[in-house]
Symmetry: C2
Subunit: 250 residues, 2 copies
C-alpha cells in the first residue's frame, strides 16, 4: 500500500533557513494509520523546489517585465519553442542550466514578495542530498528525498510535478529483464518512478494550501542507501531526444 | 491522506469479459488501514488499458513485422516524429484516433498471445463510464474510474502512466482563481490531477505483477457525481500545441 500525506504547520521559509532543521519537527510529528509516528526508513520526503530555492536565497529582483525577462534569459541555455502570446509577450519553452525543459526557465513569480522572482535551486540534486543528510541526523530515519517542480507537457493540457532533484530514490525502474506471461521481454519498460512519486505527492501537497512537503510511504523498494546519481540523470541525452527542436505553425 | 493499493487475484481477462463483473469481487474484498473493506464513494478505480482492450476484443493479428506495422499504421492519424533505429526499423511517435501522442500508436505486443498485438480501447472514456456503471451496480459505491496507459515523455527518460479514459474524475484542477500569500494569482495553475492519480496508481500496480487495477482513496474532492467530459478533453488543442511538429537533427 502507498500512503502519502502533507503536513500542515510548515513555517514560512526564508533565505538562509536550514531546511532540515525547519522540517524535522513537522515530519517527526506525522501520524500514520498503523499508529506509528514520524519518518521511517524507506519513506520518501518530497519537497517543493520553491521552498528549497527560498532557503537557498534564489530570489532575484523583478520589479518590471524587463527585469523578469532578464532573469529568465540568464536561466536559459537553449530555446526549445516559442510563440507570441495574445497579451503581446512571448511564451518561451527553454532548457535551463539544470537540463530541465520548462516555460520561463522555471522562474517563479507566484508566492514570492512583490518585485522579486524565484530561480530554481542551482543544483537540486545537491539540495536533496543535503536535506537527506540533515533529516537523517535529526530524526534517525534515512528517507529518500525528492525536490519537485511543476511543468507543462507537450500535447496534453495541465501541469504535473516532476522530480528535479533526488537523493536515495530509484529514479528509473528498469524492467527490461522481466518477462511477460508469454515469456517475452516487456515493452515500455523503464518506469519513471521518481516522477510518479512526485505526482503522487503533488496530489496531497496542492499549490496554495501551505503544504510544500509531503511524505510518501510504502515505496521502500525504491529507496536506496546510496544517494545515487541524481535527477539530472533523468534528462534525455540529445542523441535520444526527438523533440530537441520544435516548429510551430502559427 | 492518499492511499493506493493494487489487489492480487485479478483473473486473466479474455475477449468478451464483463470487466465490472470480473473486478467487483476483487475490489469488494479490499482491506483498508481503518478496518473498512471494499470500495467507497470517492475512491478512484484505476485500470490499465491493456485489460480494458483485452475485454473489448482489441487483439489483432501481428504474425510478423509487416502485420504489426500495418496495425500501427491503421491507428495513426498523424506522425509527430520519427527516427531510424539502430536495428533498421523506424521509431515513430504518432497521434492516435483517441488524440494520444504515443510511440507505435499505443499498439502493444507485451503480454499478449504470440502472433497478436493489442490496440488501445476504441473509446476509453466510454470504457471508463461503462466500468463505473457496472461497479456501482454491483458494489453500491460510486467510484471515479480512470483507464490508463503508459507513455514516454519528450526530454525526460522513462515512461509514466497517463489517464486515457475517465468517468467521474476531475481531470484538471483549475487553481487560477486562487491567490498566493501575497494576493496575486497563481502561475502554473491548472493541475493535471487525473494524470497524477494515474501515476500514483502505477506505483502500486507495476507492470509484471499481475495487478492491472488499483484503487486510490483520499481524493474524494476529485470525484464527481457526473461522469464529466472524459480524458479526451485532456488533449491539447492544435492551436495551443507548440509541439505539433518536431524536427530531428540526426
Amino acid at each position: 500500500m502507498l500512503l502519502a500525506q502533507a503536513p500542515d504547520g510548515v513555517p514560512m521559509i526564508s533565505g538562509g533557513d536550514d531546511l532540515a532543521a525547519v522540517l524535522a519537527p513537522v515530519l517527526g510529528a506525522l501520524s500514520w494509520p498503523d499508529g506509528s509516528t514520524g519518518l521511517a526508513d524507506g519513506d520518501v520526503v518530497v519537497v517543493a523546489s520553491k521552498v528549497v530555492a527560498k532557503a537557498e536565497r534564489r530570489l532575484v529582483p523583478a520589479r518590471d517585465d524587463a527585469e523578469r525577462d532578464a532573469a529568465i534569459a540568464a536561466q536559459t541555455v537553449r530555446v526549445v519553442a516559442e510563440r507570441d502570446r495574445p497579451d503581446g509577450g512571448v511564451l518561451r519553452i527553454v532548457e535551463t542550466p539544470q537540463g530541465l525543459v520548462m516555460a520561463a526557465a522555471g522562474v517563479d513569480t507566484s508566492d514570492v514578495p512583490p518585485g522579486t522572482a524565484l530561480l530554481l535551486p542551482e543544483d537540486p540534486d545537491a539540495s536533496a542530498r543535503r536535506l537527506r543528510r540533515g533529516l537523517h541526523a535529526r530524526l534517525g530515519a534515512r528517507p529518500g528525498v525528492l525536490v519537485t517542480d511543476t511543468a507543462g507537457r507537450p500535447w496534453r493540457r495541465g501541469v504535473a510535478d516532476l522530480a528535479i532533484g533526488a537523493a536515495g530514490v530509484v529514479l528509473l525502474l528498469d524492467m527490461r529483464g522481466e518477462k511477460d506471461a508469454y515469456g517475452r521481454a516487456l515493452q515500455s519498460s523503464i518506469i519513471a518512478t521518481a516522477d510518479e512519486i512526485a505526482a503522487a505527492a503533488e496530489l496531497v501537497k496542492g499549490k496554495v494550501a501551505g503544504r510544500p512537503v509531503a511524505v510518501v510511504r510504502g515505496m521502500g523498494h525504491l529507496v536506496t542507501t546510496e544517494d545515487g546519481e541524481g535527477a539530472r540523470s533523468l534528462v534525455r541525452p540529445p542523441e535520444e531526444d526527438l523533440f530537441r527542436h520544435a516548429v510551430t505553425d502559427d
